[in-house]
């Protein structure tokens, strides 16, 4: 599935993308504004982004989801750990081992995921140096 329409260009109107809105479950549309290729994204309800803003928001969504996954791993591991102790006290045959095996695997995954988040480097968004830009295009507004 394409994220952006392949023939996206000025004058092609507002098009559906294969990307969801960072702030709601809706699909994003995209349109080229002006003649220098400015991309403007809007979802059905009206959340709006430039391409830089969309990238930044999607990076935030990614980190949120990764911490969500870390939480799922760590919470289930903690639950299994406490059940393991409970099973020992109540002498539930077999439950203790089952809990421990699964908990240990989850703890490994959780550590790996924390390492992944630690080592991840979101896109760094800059902008054209204005001096360079104007040197290329001549006096502003000319």
């Amino acid at each position: 599935m394409d994220a952006l329409p392949r023939d996206l260009a000025p004058g092609t109107g507002r098009r559906l993308t294969g990307v969801t809105c960072p702030d709601c479950p809706g699909s994003l549309t995209v349109e080229v504004q002006g003649h220098k290729g400015h991309l403007h994204f809007v979802c059905r309800v009206g959340h709006a982004y430039s391409v830089a803003g969309l990238l930044a928001a999607k990076e935030e969504v990614l980190e949120d989801r990764l911490w969500g996954a870390a939480l799922a791993l760590e919470e289930l591991a903690a639950l299994l750990g406490d059940l393991e102790a409970y099973a020992v006290r109540e002498c539930w045959a077999g439950v203790e081992t089952l809990c421990r095996t699964r908990r240990q695997l989850l703890e490994e995954h959780a550590l790996a995921l924390r390492r992944l988040i630690e080592q991840d480097r979101p896109v760094e968004i800059g902008f054209d140096d204005p001096g360079t830009e104007m040197a290329q295009t001549g006096p502003p507004g000319s």
Binding site: F127, G131, P140
Partner: protein, 201 residues
């Protein structure tokens, strides 16, 4: 030449984010007290906290500055500051405030104001984008220019955060790139139907 047709550009829209408060103070101090235009302003501000921003501007400005009520009529010689957590748009001679979706994760958003101005007032509009991070206002400035209005940005070299003006320059043919002192004078000239020379910065 800017405004060669000598139109009275009587709807001024200004947007900014980080670094724009001091920029606005400088502009407001120097605006002619008899400015023949309504001035509408969006600055990014936290949605949940009260602030005295309008009062701070009002103490230093040559024109009265206030946060409007929804439905208030748009009048010349006044500055309308978008309140927290509301988009401020223009419609039919009135200011409307709404809680439409955030744009660029901001409400109020500069684009919401600029787009509504372009739609409602076309060539009568001057859009000014000041210091600020990110890209809010770039799309709106394109729309103002496309509707026959004048687009203006603070010189990115002077702006505390150059992103918004620099992105506007990169993604459209902005009419004027000016320093703060020049912006106040340019607004006085253009709202009175005067012309500005284009020049390189």
């Amino acid at each position: 030449m800017i405004n060669a047709g000598r139109l009275n550009r009587d709807v001024v829209t200004i947007g900014g984010s980080a670094g724009s408060i001091e920029a606005l103070l400088r502009i407001f101090e120097k605006l002619p007290a008899n400015l023949a235009a309504a001035v509408t302003v969006v600055v990014h501000r936290p949605p949940f906290f009260q602030s005295q921003l309008a009062q701070i501007f009002n103490r230093r400005a040559s024109l009265p500055v206030a946060e409007p009520e929804d439905g208030e009529s748009l009048e010349r010689g006044r500055v309308y500051l978008a309140p927290r957590d509301r988009h401020m748009v223009m419609e039919d001679g009135h200011i409307r405030l709404n809680r439409e979706p955030q744009q660029h994760r901001f409400r109020p958003a500069v684009d919401a104001l600029f787009l509504s101005a372009a739609r409602a007032y076309g060539p009568r509009v001057i859009g000014v984008l000041l210091s600020g991070g990110g890209t809010d206002g770039v799309r709106g400035l394109i729309a103002i220019k496309a509707a026959g209005g004048i687009s203006m940005v603070q010189d990115p070299k002077e702006a505390r955060n150059p992103s918004m003006p620099a992105m506007a320059i990169a993604e459209d043919d902005v009419d004027a790139v000016l320093r703060l002192d020049e912006i106040a004078a340019a607004l006085g000239t253009l709202t009175a139907g005067g012309t500005l020379e284009r020049r390189a910065r």
